[in-house]
Symmetry: C2
Subunit: 349 residues, 2 copies
DNA sequence: ATTAGCACTTTGAATAAAAGAGTGCCAAAA
DNA sequence: TTTTGGCACTCTTTTATTCAAAGTGCTAAT
């Protein structure tokens, strides 16, 4: 796809800035990319690009910097879509290992992704409607301590250890486990809180410390429903040049990652039904310094989730987008194939 | 305890530097602490302190900075041992909640500790000899997926999801779980790898996908034995002034936290039988910029573990030491009391 | 034993000057 | 009409220089 001159120049500006985090001037562009136009011509084009709002100056005689709009145009029309071979190999070596759970595959994938892009990877917790409780266990680990273990149909394990005042009869525990599995198995996690509340009065027929058990279960189920996203590669952010002499900026970025409003926004994106990745540039939670790329992953019969790459506005969109597209596509294939192998008797969910 | 003049001055130097991260001169000392000696007197004392190796100059006419040795002297003889009330309240409110596991109590404690000191908290994984497997479960979460869940006597839960090629008969799983619990229950975690290896030939009498099950168990047990320390409050490091204009330094610090040789060294400390905290100043893994304070915590009948505070050499040793001492003492009492309540039939471990 | 006083050192902040990198515009060349 | 060389202008960055602060160590007086 041969680009016209204007697009070529814009592409170079964006790529130079992404690489060096430094405003770009006409002469630099020629030197760096061996362009055959004169610097005056480039300046004229730049002038036009600025009029279109695609690039900006940092001061009256500075070089140009891509605007948010410029980045968007770059992502949609100019980027190379080149997938790094390293990613292919790394990912393949994960997927070849057959014994990993969904969680583990996603985790390893994100670690690669982060390492390659110097961005943070975020995996959304699965949609509450898709995930169900598969099993409850109560394990007595000492005379007065019980650990409750909850496994979902997706292999996610949550646990809660609690202390009971009196010694407990092992048979009580067994019958209590039976009760809980009977009543709670296959319950979508968002309904768990209500179900356990309803179960409260019955519980005391089964176990002496019913109140403590109830409280522990309730607390865990509350935690279940929130709190379900995982961040990987936080420290990769250190490798981005905008933070080299600005620890405060980096600190703000780290704090953002603990910030709920940001995460809520990402959750929105993850629920979109777009097949393409959703790219948000300088508009994440009203923060002009942050961009995100969110893509869906289909987990075969286990519903779907999403992976988000998050980093400074000056991120390598081509690399990040290409990597994420490639990765999600491969994961989609992988999980679909798993299902086929699994047996045709269909999921229990 | 009335200090002599020399000690008073040293104390002020250390405290000033800890607070401002700035070399201290004789006049500053007078201004800041309203000392009644003349600046010349202080200079003479400083000269002596420098001869003793307790303080240093950064250049020929600069103020003084504590040396590693100076910090050590400060910790041993000069610090106030003042415990912040806030810590007392925060800790109490955690310990009043009765339904927390050991892991959770340690976690919350460390979060407070880190927040108060701007240091990273590290909880050592429990001594391998003390921790035993309490229960194994295999939960079939889909026709071709099984999640194995392992609970230790300390309430630590490890899990592993793996994919089996063929549909599995539920009764196979049940008998397999029985086998595993029979053979592995109460096994110290460091012996698990050997035990499962020994079990390998028997396994195939119990379950069709014996090879996959074996591999999943083996992998998990290997992970069990390493990997058992938890870091809290990493991001508190941002609040230390030495990193304000030096992102690289901070990055190095973060990298250190992922570094095995450092962690090995901390593990050494955690195994010391000193009742006092172990303070390492500018000698952690050969790094002059890092200090650690390690203290033991007795977990009642569950053996013991240790908490380490880690941060820049210029840390607030008084605050950190006092907080850690107070905290470990309270935790010791708390866990001892738990045991008493627990029932006198003794632990199963 | 202390301290006032002083000469000396080093850093850091402020200022000024020079160098660089860049722009926009105009008139000439293609 | 499009492209380009040339040039005046702008703003930032670098370098140099100066100057004030903060500090020390030493000596002589208290």
């Amino acid at each position: 796809m041969a680009l016209n001159r204007s697009d070529t120049i814009l592409k170079h500006i964006v790529e130079y800035f992404i690489k060096h985090a430094q405003p770009v001037g006409s002469q630099t562009l020629i030197d760096e990319y061996h362009l055959s136009y004169s610097s005056a011509t480039i300046r004229n084009e730049m002038f036009a690009l600025e009029k279109q709002g695609l690039i900006e100056k940092t001061h009256s005689s500075s070089g140009r910097v891509p605007s948010a709009q410029g980045y968007r145009y770059y992502c949609n029309h100019l980027r190379d879509k080149s997938v790094d071979d390293e990613l292919k190999y790394s990912l393949q070596s994960i997927l070849d290992e057959k014994i990993h759970s969904i969680e583990e595959v996603l985790k390893s994938s994100c670690e690669i992704l982060s390492q390659m892009t110097s961005l943070v990877s975020v995996v959304m917790g699965p949609d509450e409607k898709e995930e169900r409780l598969a099993n409850v266990q109560l394990v007595q680990i000492s005379p007065n301590t019980i650990t409750a273990v909850f496994v979902t149909n997706r292999g996610y394990v949550e646990n809660k250890t609690f202390i009971i005042e009196k010694g407990v009869n092992p048979s009580e525990i067994v019958s209590c486990v039976t009760l809980l599995n009977d009543r709670l198995k296959d319950t979508p996690i968002y309904q768990l809180v209500d179900k356990i509340k309803a179960l409260k009065p019955i519980l005391n027929d089964y176990i002496v410390s019913h109140d403590l058990v109830y409280q522990a279960l309730l607390e865990t189920f509350l935690r279940f429903a929130s709190d379900r996203l995982s961040l990987y590669g936080r420290e990769e952010l250190f490798n981005n040049p905008e933070f080299k002499n600005d620890t405060d900026k980096l600190h703000r970025m780290f704090r953002l990652l603990n910030d709920n409003s940001l995460l809520k926004e990402m959750e929105e994106d993850s629920k979109s039904d777009s097949e393409e990745p959703i790219v948000k540039i300088g508009e994440v939670d009203g923060n002009p310094d942050v961009s995100t790329i969110t893509a869906k992953v289909r987990l075969g019969s286990e519903g779907e989730t999403s992976i988000t790459l998050l980093g400074p506005t000056r991120m390598d969109y081509d690399k990040a987008l290409s990597a994420l597209e490639y990765l999600t596509e491969e994961l989609n294939k992988y999980f679909a194939k798993l299902d086929d192998k699994g047996g045709k008797n269909g999921g229990d969910a």
